[in-house]
Assembly symmetry: C2
Homo-oligomer: 327 residues x 2
């Protein structure tokens, strides 16, 4: 592949990054600081999406967009910085059970999305347009234009992911999960093209089950990724998820709650695995799975951390790409 | 009809009030101060409704609801008091041409309406529920559950009413109007029942063409009203509309821009006509149309004015009802 002068000196090829919400958005933001829009495409989970308060809510996509636009709220991990909640407060006074936090600026974006969807635009087209308006230049792609909805099976019955995660604060035991709508869903043409053209795939530090899992479940995605050097940034560090329910889910699924458990989950599909320093002791066990380990500081506390981890991940990608013939 | 002790001493019967937005909402609020929820039903124009920013906007219904709930913005005539515009400001930053003002509290109500409509509720059911949540006890009825959309013909082409009225500030000449959807629209069962049970009908001071007109255009409404003593509060005072485009519309339709022009418009259907003191000189001409005139101060500046005009209108209704056999 020709590498023009605008391309990153860290990595000259094309990267497809798979991302869920908070952790995924952080690394995507780091990668976007290093790679041109021609080099980096971010493919985002839509399994968390849901209809609420008359709006189509896309938590992972919006978190990625807000992070790339640098208008995200760093304290919450979701939503906008400098946010107010006047609308939500009034919905409460009008009797709405406002369990899902939506700030006023966030609602503005949701209203534009509602209007565009109602006008017949696909989700891909809508996100392209919203990204443009937010000043985001890197392609952010919904994994599918057909709704896929992650349903969590619990002893209290099946519930949509956001109901389980936000409303019920992951209290119910997860007995299993199901991707409603999967049978009718396909990866978009843009997602297929991004994977076909990618020199490497990076799984951002996102939940393996409810963030990366739905993307991998789409027809043809696994097969495409299996042909490309792929690395994973572990979302589990020191046996805990930095954010979200990944650790609890692994435990309830009877999996080992550790970076190694994540590596086992992906073994056979991926080539490299980034471990945090605290998990350095797992490197040999990861290697034994046929996955190349890379140990570094995998925690992203600020903008500089995001860039640093992205630099290291891309350096690792470069080495994996060089050794791609081994896959 | 039996009159129980809770009923108004001003008028003991049942009233169906037809209303558009600002002026109509003011008198509806005055009537609601005097009549019980069993005595007063407010039937509201939906011809101004439109889809915008992903929301179904019902300007007249909301203005009536907000006035009855006493949360309206008296300075604007539309929307909520103590309002902020954080969402709309952000939509502007995101490239939306925010020509229709929607405050944050207003948007809260619109989101609840959107969610209820999406859930399959009829507009009547939605407004019943929103009224309940706002603490409004008098029935507020959309004229129809089928969308009727007032389209204004202008030299620049046909445009929806709000586009003409708000976005274009009534600048284009009105060549005519059309009620899109009318052929499929019926008055709701609740509207039909309210008219069947009414002892009197009051046309609030609303635009005869775009506020009262669409209600009268629904099949069966005129026939029902023709059987009931009906009075009109003139929306034109001293040759001018207190609010809205009624005067400009009358002029462009080649009608006399005066309370008499309005009385002529309704002659044959209505029994009484309330003129402001400045139009006292028109009383004889109104009488010559076969319509009984009543002259008073018809301007409602504050809450007390609304109540006073409602008292006078109901006193006039009482006299008309007594003479109803003459119709």
């Amino acid at each position: 592949m020709a590498i023009n002068s605008a391309r990153s000196s860290v990595f000259g090829g094309r990267v497809a990054a798979l991302a869920g919400g908070v952790g995924g958005a952080k690394l995507a933001h780091g990668l976007a600081q290093l790679l041109t829009p021609e080099q980096l495409t971010i493919i985002v989970n839509t399994g968390d999406d849901f209809e609420h308060l008359g709006l189509t809510i896309c938590p992972d996509i919006d978190t990625v967009l807000y992070n790339l636009a640098e208008v995200n709220n760093p304290a919450f991990g979701w939503g906008r910085a400098d946010e107010s909640f006047h609308v939500l407060e009034e919905t409460k006074r009008l009797g709405h059970d406002a369990w899902f936090m939506l700030g006023d600026k966030d609602i503005a974006l949701h209203l534009l999305r509602r209007a565009m969807l109602d006008a017949g635009m696909t989700l891909t087209e809508v996100i392209y347009e919203l990204a443009r308006r937010l000043g985001v230049t890197h392609p952010v792609l919904p994994m599918s234009d057909q709704p896929v909805r992650t349903m969590i099976r619990t002893p209290e019955g099946e519930m949509p992911f956001q109901e389980y995660f936000v409303h019920r604060r992951t209290k119910p035991v997860m007995l299993g999960m199901r991707l409603a709508g999967l049978a009718e869903a396909r990866p978009t043409a843009q997602v297929r093209a991004a994977l076909d053209e990618a020199d490497a795939v990076i799984f951002c530090p996102s939940n393996p089950f409810v963030s990366i899992g739905p993307i991998l479940a789409l027809p043809g995605v696994r097969e495409r990724i299996a042909r490309i050097p792929t690395l994973v940034i572990s979302p589990i560090i020191g046996g805990r998820a930095l954010k979200g329910p990944a650790a609890k889910m692994m435990q309830e699924q009877g999996l080992e709650v550790s970076a190694l458990g994540v590596a086992r989950h992906y073994a056979g599909l991926v080539d490299g695995f980034v471990l945090d320093n605290v998990d350095a002791g797992l490197a040999d066990a990861v290697r034994a799975l046929g996955v190349t380990p890379f140990v570094t500081n995998a925690i992203m506390r600020d903008r500089a951390d995001r860039r640093r981890l992205a630099v290291e991940a891309l350096g690792f990608v470069k080495r994996l790409t060089g050794a791609a013939g081994a896959k």
